[in-house]
Symmetry: C2
C-alpha cells in the first residue's frame, strides 16, 4: 500500500472548521487519510512511501468545471466576435457535424491537458460521441460527469435513436473507472428539444437515477422564443415538464426574473455560471448575487473553448468575482471566499459529489492541486484566498492529483502525451476545415 | 557591435501592412534593424552575434501599461471587497503614508518583476518617492513614463513643496536612462487637487513640455461631488483649467456623457482604461466602444496591484475584449484586433511613443516579447490574434527585450533578483502593518 505525505505545505481547505493551515496531509487508497497543522508526526513520516516537499506550495481542492463541451477545443479561435445564433448555426454546428468519434477523442484529450495543467480535477461534459469522451476520461485519470448531449431538431426516428444512445451510454459508463465517471442525461436545450421529447429524458433520468443537465435561458432571444412557442418562460416550461423534479444542473441561466430565481431555489436546481462565455457571446450577465442570496447552488463552467477561449477555471473564478461587483455597483458582491467555493465546493454539490470532492477533509477523495506561491504575484502573504481568486492564474498550478493518483508533476502531465495530442488536434482541425 | 537574429518565428506586428508573418527579425543598436518572411538571408545569419530559435514562439511588441502605482504591490490582498472611498481613505492612504523611499523602491521592483514576466515593456507610474521608482526603472531595463503624483489635500506650503518636487523630478529624470524614462506632470485627481493648484500643474507641464496625467471620473460619487463643488462635471472642469490644452492622459474615465466623449476626442485626450480595477472597486464599466467610435485613443492600465490584484496586462486585454461585449449586448464590440492594439499601439500613442514602440517595424525600438505558443491552449493554429487576446495569459511570455536588451530569458528575469525582491517586499509589508 502506497502512502503519500505532503509536508510543510500551506493548505486552503474550503472547510469552515479549519479553512487554512500550515502543515501536512497524507493520502492513502485514493483518499485523504490524515492531515494536521505543523510538522508531520514521526509515525506519518515513517509510513510514507512517497513524500512531497510542500514549501512554497499551496494545496487546495481540485477545481470543478460544471459545464463544457471538451471536444470544442478543436474549434478554438475559428470564429470569434459573432452573435450566438450565427456562431452556432453557421459556424459551430456545420463543423461539428463533421466530427468523427476520433475527433471527439482527441479534441477532448486536448481539453484534458488544458484542464489538468490549470488545476481542474472534475469536469462536466455534454457532447455527441460521449463514449469517446468517457474513454479519454478513463485514460486521463480525470473525474467527470458526462452526458451524451442530444439536439432534437430532427425526425422522430432520429430522436428515438439519440435518446436510446444516451440511455445506453448511461448504463454502460455510470460508475466506471473506479467511480470517477458519472453520467447525466442531457437534452441540449428547451429550444432544441420539443416538449414531448424532453419528457422522455426526464423519464429516463428518473429510471436511471441520474441528474439532468441542460442549457437554459442563455440568451434573451431564446427566452422570448420559448414564450412565443410554449406560452411561458424556460424555467416554468422545464418545471412543468418535470425536469426539476429530481437533481438538475442548468447551464448559463443568464435571463431570469425574481420568480424564476425563487423557483430554482425551491426546486434545488443547480446553476452553472459561465461568465466568460456569456460575455464573449454577448449573452448578458447572469444575476449571480441574487441567485446566491436566494440559496441557489451556483458553480462555474468554462463552456466550450470556442466561446472562451481556454479552459482555465482560475480565470473563470477571477471573472466571476470581478464582473458582478462592477455590474451591480456593489464591491462586496461575490467576495473572494464565495468565488473560491463556487469553483470547488459548490461545483461538487451541483453534480452530487458534495462530501466526496471539493474540500480537503479526511475521508474525501484525494482530488487536490498544488499552486506555486513562491512567485511575485503572490507577494506579500496577506490573504491566500484573495490571491487565489484575484491574482492567481491556472498556469500557477504545478501538481495535480485525482483519486490520489498524480496527473500533473512539476507542470507536466503524467497520463497524457501532450505533444502527440497537440499534433493530433492540429491535423484534425485542418481536415475538418478542408 | 552585437546583432541579434531571431529566426523561424511567428511575428504579430500590429502593423497594417504586414500584420502577421513567419520569418526572421534582426536587432542592432537597440532597434529593429531588419525583418522579413521565410528563412533568414545568408548575410543576416553571417552578421548575427546571437541567434534565437523562434520555433514554437510568437514575437510581438511588448505591452504598454498606461496607468498604475507600482509600489502598491506591497498592499496586494491587504483590503479587498470594499467601496473605493473607504478602501482609499481607511486602508490605502494610511498605510501608504508610512511608505519610505526604500518601500517604494522594493514595491516597484516587485511590480517590475511581475510586469517583465508577463510581457509589459513600458509602464506608466504615478506615485510619491518617484525618484526611487526612476532608479528602479533604470536598473530593471524597463521603459517608463513616470510622474510624481500629487494629492493636494494639504496646506498651501505643502502643496508648493510637492509641486516643486514634481517639477524637479521632471527636470532630473525626463530623457534619462538612454531616453527609456520619460516624465509626466501629475495632479492626482480633480477631487484631491483644488482648481488653482491644478492650474499650476498645467503651467509646469507646458513649461517642461511634458504630458499631464490624472485620474478622472472613476466613480459616480466623484462626478457628483465635482458638480456640487465646481458647478460642472470633471471633463468640463479640467478643460476649463487648461489640462486638455496639451498632451494629456486620463485614467479610468468611467462616467462620461456623450458631450464629454466628444470633447475628449476633440482635445485628443488619451484614456487609460482599467477594466479590472473598475470592476473590483465596483466603479462601473467605462464606455469604451463609444470612446473608440469617437476616435479617442484608449489604452489599457492595470492600476495598482491592490485593486487588481496582479499586473498581468494580458488579463486586462482579455477582460476589455470580453466585458464590453457582455455589457453592451454587441458581440462585435472591442474585437480581438482592437484589444491587442489597445495594449500596444494605442498604449504607445497615449504617452507620445507612437513610432517608437508598440509595433514591430524597422527603425522602432526593439521592445518585443516572445510568447510560447507550443502549448495546448494555443491549438489549433486558427487565429493568433484571437489566441493572444482570448486564450493567452501573461505566464505564456518567455523572453522580453527592451531597447534590444534581454530582460527575461526562458521565463527568468535577467536584470532583477526575483528572490531578493520577494523577500524584501514581504518584510517591508510586515513592517508597514506592524
Amino acid at each position: 500500500m502506497t502512502r503519500l505525505l505532503i509536508k510543510q505545505g500551506t493548505f486552503v481547505t474550503i472547510d469552515e472548521n479549519l479553512p487554512e493551515f500550515q502543515g501536512w496531509l497524507a493520502v492513502e487508497n485514493g483518499k485523504i487519510a490524515a492531515m494536521g497543522e505543523g510538522e508531520a508526526p514521526q509515525e506519518e513520516t515513517a509510513r510514507a512511501t512517497e513524500t512531497v516537499d510542500g514549501k512554497g506550495l499551496l494545496f487546495m481542492p481540485g477545481l470543478v468545471n460544471t459545464h463544457g463541451h471538451a471536444a470544442m477545443t478543436l474549434l478554438r479561435g475559428m470564429a470569434d466576435d459573432l452573435v450566438l445564433q450565427d456562431w452556432l448555426q453557421n459556424h459551430m454546428w456545420p463543423t461539428e457535424a463533421k466530427f468523427t468519434g476520433d475527433d471527439v477523442y482527441w479534441g477532448s484529450a486536448l481539453a484534458a491537458v488544458e484542464m489538468i495543467k490549470s488545476g481542474t480535477t472534475t469536469f462536466v461534459d455534454m457532447y455527441d460521441h460521449s463514449r469517446r469522451v468517457a474513454e479519454m476520461t478513463e485514460a486521463s485519470g480525470l473525474r467527470a460527469s458526462l452526458a451524451r448531449g442530444v439536439i432534437g431538431l430532427c425526425s422522430e426516428e432520429e430522436q428515438k435513436a439519440k435518446l436510446e444512445d444516451a440511455i445506453r451510454f448511461a448504463r454502460e459508463w455510470h460508475g466506471q473507472a473506479d467511480d470517477r465517471i458519472r453520467v447525466m442525461i442531457s437534452p441540449h436545450a428547451p429550444y432544441t428539444c420539443p416538449p414531448d421529447f424532453i419528457l422522455k429524458f426526464v423519464e429516463a433520468a428518473r429510471e436511471l437515477n441520474v441528474p439532468l443537465h441542460t442549457h437554459m435561458s442563455e440568451t434573451l432571444a431564446e427566452v422570448e422564443q420559448n414564450v412565443r412557442d410554449y406560452g411561458c418562460r424556460p424555467v416554468e416550461h422545464l418545471d412543468r415538464l418535470g425536469v426539476f423534479g429530481g437533481p438538475a444542473l442548468v447551464a448559463h441561466a443568464v435571463h431570469l426574473n425574481d420568480e424564476e430565481i425563487a423557483l430554482l431555489a425551491e426546486r434545488k436546481v443547480a446553476v452553472s455560471h459561465n461568465p466568460i462565455s456569456n460575455l464573449k457571446l454577448a449573452s448578458g450577465v447572469a444575476r449571480v448575487p441574487d441567485l446566491l442570496k436566494a440559496g441557489v447552488t451556483v458553480s462555474l463552467g468554462t463552456d466550450g473553448a470556442a466561446s472562451n477561449n481556454n479552459l482555465d477555471l482560475f480565470q473563470e473564478m477571477t471573472t466571476a468575482a470581478l464582473l458582478h461587483k462592477g455590474v451591480s455597483g456593489d464591491p462586496t458582491a461575490v467576495p473572494a471566499t464565495e468565488a473560491l467555493r463556487m469553483a470547488t465546493l459548490y461545483g461538487a454539490r451541483s453534480i452530487g459529489l458534495e462530501g466526496v470532492v471539493g474540500q480537503l477533509k479526511v475521508g474525501f477523495k484525494a482530488d487536490l492541486i498544488a499552486v506555486n506561491i513562491a512567485q511575485a504575484h503572490f507577494v506579500p502573504r496577506t490573504d491566500y484566498v484573495s490571491h487565489l481568486v484575484y491574482s492567481a492564474r491556472g498556469s500557477d498550478v504545478v501538481h495535480v492529483w485525482v483519486d490520489g493518483k498524480q496527473l500533473l508533476r512539476d507542470g507536466r502531465p503524467t497520463t497524457l502525451d501532450e505533444e502527440k495530442i497537440m499534433a493530433e488536434a492540429e491535423s484534425r482541425y485542418r481536415r475538418l476545415r478542408a
